[in-house]
Symmetry: C2
Subunit: 144 residues, 2 copies
Amino acid sequence: MISKSCKYAIRACVFVASKVNDDVKVSMKEIANEIEAPVAFTGKILQMLNKRRIITSLKGPYGGFYCEKYQLETPILEIVNAIDGLAVFKECVMGLHQCSDQHPCPMHFEYSKTKEALMKSFSETTIGSLADKLIDGNSYLTNN
Amino acid sequence: MISKSCKYAIRACVFVASKVNDDVKVSMKEIANEIEAPVAFTGKILQMLNKRRIITSLKGPYGGFYCEKYQLETPILEIVNAIDGLAVFKECVMGLHQCSDQHPCPMHFEYSKTKEALMKSFSETTIGSLADKLIDGNSYLTNN
DNA sequence: CTTAAAAAGGATAAAATTGTCTTCTTATGT
DNA sequence: ACATAAGAAGACAATTTTATCCTTTTTAAG
């Protein structure tokens, strides 16, 4: 559905966002450790997220990654877009390029509904809202 | 969402099924040509579909692939299961192994609904029903 | 100004997915 | 039985995705 990289990205964002009230920056290592992803690879992902202004980074000692207030409003969809692109929400189940409302593949209309629903849910869910649920302790990030 | 291989597989099945009334067998090459996939790779996929009894094959001259009547009732879900497995319908958006109703990730409940809907639609759609739509001429298989 | 801590960036490697080629096996018609 | 036409199977190759390592740049503190 979505790539491993993208899952790392979502976890990373949520973790970083969960620290917003503590007013601290978190390092690549801390993030990688928390989300259980390889450090260097996590670095690459964070780099992209920073370029897209989904999170913010600061170099140097006491540097690291953090969320600015406005960034809490970023929908998850933007993370997916930054890492995987939006193809998932658009592509034909059967892989036909010209599949559309006008030239539908046999599954087109049924499948479109699901893609719409998915996209809607991803665009309505913000990083901040997910981080809040994290903080409430109803869920956790690590994998073991 | 689903792999390229799996898309080839769905296209192949629908094409083979669309020939069921003509009582003909179609060759690897014909199928590959129709679905616009590499011949040898199509072979591998057809092989798996045959092993899973999603389609039927016969070797030798005048051989090829075809659908038996009962196979028209096969849900698309089985194709996905044969090629990609059912992970897509089960996995956590954030990639957490222990994510469940009891230990939900922040997106769990929302995302589960979509996965359910997707799986339902895939299990209610049969190869035969898709082939019928093809034959009706409302849609086509090739990509150009 | 120097040192050190952190991210950024580039080159490379490993793993997974997709694709190719060659040989083996099975079925058909003569 | 034989020749031939097909799929089955296995080994190999290319591409894409995931992951690692090393060097450079930026920033803060002393």
